[in-house]
Assembly symmetry: C2
Homo-oligomer: 379 residues x 2
């Protein structure tokens, strides 16, 4: 194998597949990245067994400055090889595989010889048909991810809760995540109905990595699903993730359909007040912030307290306030995550009682998005 | 004590004194910061016993928006208090000390009450006369610091080597640091001769912190020295550092005054080549890079090697090359630190033999700055 390529394009490709490569893998060859030179161009692959990323640097794209002299394949130590490429002196680099997988990388006067591995020993990627792929608007899909992954569990005790549950049929997409203390559910409508229906759970970690790969220039991401794998196509890059096995709990009945007290806020304003209150609650052993709502006095007050350091009290100014008097305590970190996911929107917070979960929904298009938080009993 | 102040100016002052405050102190009150409200304004103090920083927010500076209602003093938990001030909702904040050092901080509708400590228990700062202070140009002093601290030792086995040795008399300043593997010596000439002469060793850590406090707007730093303390005055801020006790070794005889081989380079070009070579040497147990110089062939070649990963070889193009043939090995990290301290300059590297220290000096004004590196024996 021998080819020359532009350093900028090559570095970009290496960075893309490096996202999937972990130094902590138990399969030594997965610390490497696979390079295959073929008639279409250069195919780079990285994998940690859960996630695999494959990107193609096309021979006919002049930006890649790619010239393949002879086809072939090699696996090179990923972190190390990427660092070398970044530091090479000239804009063009040449890579040539010699005997015993010894690989020579040259650029200007600089010449590296590094020990490669046989690409035949690199695991095969899953085979997924992309005929029935589901097209998703890239920015909307990124929003779905960021709004749901906040509620994903990071406890391995119930593995299924470490993923986001997707239910897709006709033109409806529902994504939901819960760690059993809080829940986030997002619904969107597709422009065109799809064939068939899908019900799968994708690891939160995969979605977080995937989201980082979708930049603003990207218009569409297409999704294909098999029994145990999902494939996302983003331009010239393929992103594979395993799916979580098992049944996701039925979450539809967890969301209350009525309320006894409702307050509404600009999300960023309430977020700033919760951040102040949590400065003190974080210094305390039980990280709790309390809100009292008094509809007669039209007052909402927030309290944070730490026996060692002190306490904070702040009168809030809700946009609206209706229903019963209430005093309720909660984990401010859950509240901060939830509020951030609404960015600049105005939201309703709906309560039933001090020990029942409460919900945050946008005042506009309120069916599309709900964050649910379970309060903390302090009495 | 009661005062109100602008949040921006207060935050800036808190950030300044926080540089001296460590969470790892063995003296509990030093995790706090001292606030004194007096006729001139607000004086903030932070200290970790080695370094102390005092800054004054003047009452007559309109930018501070400072109004002192009653004088007094308090010590407040530093990290925590600074975070509160940053997150307060309005531009003005009010601070009032009540009974038992309980301190109320209010801004807008937000009201914090935190537990303070008696300022009488806060250690006194050293008393230093500033009559005979030495004025130093701020940018030049920052350069002296950055060029010498690279060679400071971080081993506590010889504490005196963890500092930079300053010798100041008439209009000469010499600063030198060595960790016994390398040495850096900088000489500057003052515009006006000073009274008396000074010989002291200041901890490298103090200088690094001090350097961060000198921003580009600062024109002058004035220095006063006592037997065991140095005081730097930077605008409205005082920076105290303890001095290291003991005699600094005589370093003047370490610097060779002749050479048998000389090569010259643009510092950034050689730096880039050393960085590439060290990618491989870092993967090896002994972190060594080799240079061979052949004046007949007019060639300089650099080698890095790791048995596990591979090797690198690069032909360099020196600006000049004269003297004897040589093969010499060294720690590339020392070389990188040394080269960075020359920034964009052209330098001479002067060698005597493969086992004798070699020096880097700027081709212009070569007496003013020398970096010395001890080679590594590889045969």
């Amino acid at each position: 194998m021998k080819f020359s390529i532009g350093r900028t394009a090559f570095t970009r490709g290496l960075n893309t597949v490096s996202r999937a490569i972990s130094t902590k893998t138990t399969i030594p060859i997965l610390t490497g990245l696979k390079i295959v030179a073929g008639p279409d161009g250069l195919v780079l692959t990285g994998s940690d067994a859960d996630i695999s990323i494959e990107t193609t640097l096309k021979a006919d794209d002049p930006d890649n400055m790619l010239a393949i002299e002879s086809a072939g394949a090699i696996v090179l130590p990923a972190r190390f090889f990427t660092e070398i490429v970044k530091k090479l002196p000239k804009d063009t680099i040449t890579l040539e595989v010699g005997e015993n997988f010894q690989t020579m990388i040259t650029s200007g006067q600089s010449s590296f010889t590094i020990n490669g591995l046989d690409a035949n020993n690199y695991p095969h990627l899953p085979e997924i048909q992309t005929n029935d792929s589901i097209p998703l608007a890239a920015d909307l899909f990124k929003q779905i991810i960021s709004q749901t992954v906040v509620a994903v569990s990071n406890q391995e005790s119930r593995p299924i809760l470490t993923g986001v549950h997707f239910v897709i049929s006709e033109n409806h997409v529902m994504a939901v995540a819960t760690d059993s203390h809080r829940l986030s559910q997002r619904k969107v409508t597709l422009e065109k109905p799809i064939n068939g229906s899908y019900d799968f759970v994708i690891p939160g970690k995969s979605l977080t990595e995937l989201s980082k790969m979708i930049d603003d220039a990207q218009e569409e991401v297409s999704l294909s699903v098999t029994e145990n794998q999902a494939l996302f196509v983003i331009g010239n890059t393929l992103f594979y993730s395993r799916l979580l096995e098992g049944n996701y709990p039925d979450t539809t009945r967890l969301i209350p359909d009525s309320h006894d007290t409702r307050i509404s806020f600009e999300a960023p304003e309430l977020l700033a007040a919760i951040e102040r209150a949590s400065l003190l609650s974080h210094e305390s052993r039980n990280n709790v912030v309390k809100i009292t709502i008094d509809p007669d006095k039209k007052s909402v007050t927030i309290y944070g307290n730490s026996p060692d350091v002190g306490n904070v009290e702040e009168d809030l100014e809700p946009k609206t306030l209706e229903g019963n008097e209430l005093e309720i305590s909660f984990n401010p970190d859950y509240m901060k995550d939830a509020l951030r996911s609404f960015s600049q929107a105005t939201i309703n917070i709906d309560f039933t009682s001090a020990l029942r979960p409460f919900t945050l929904t946008p005042t506009e298009d309120s069916d599309s998005f709900v964050q649910l938080i379970t309060p903390i009993r302090t009495f």
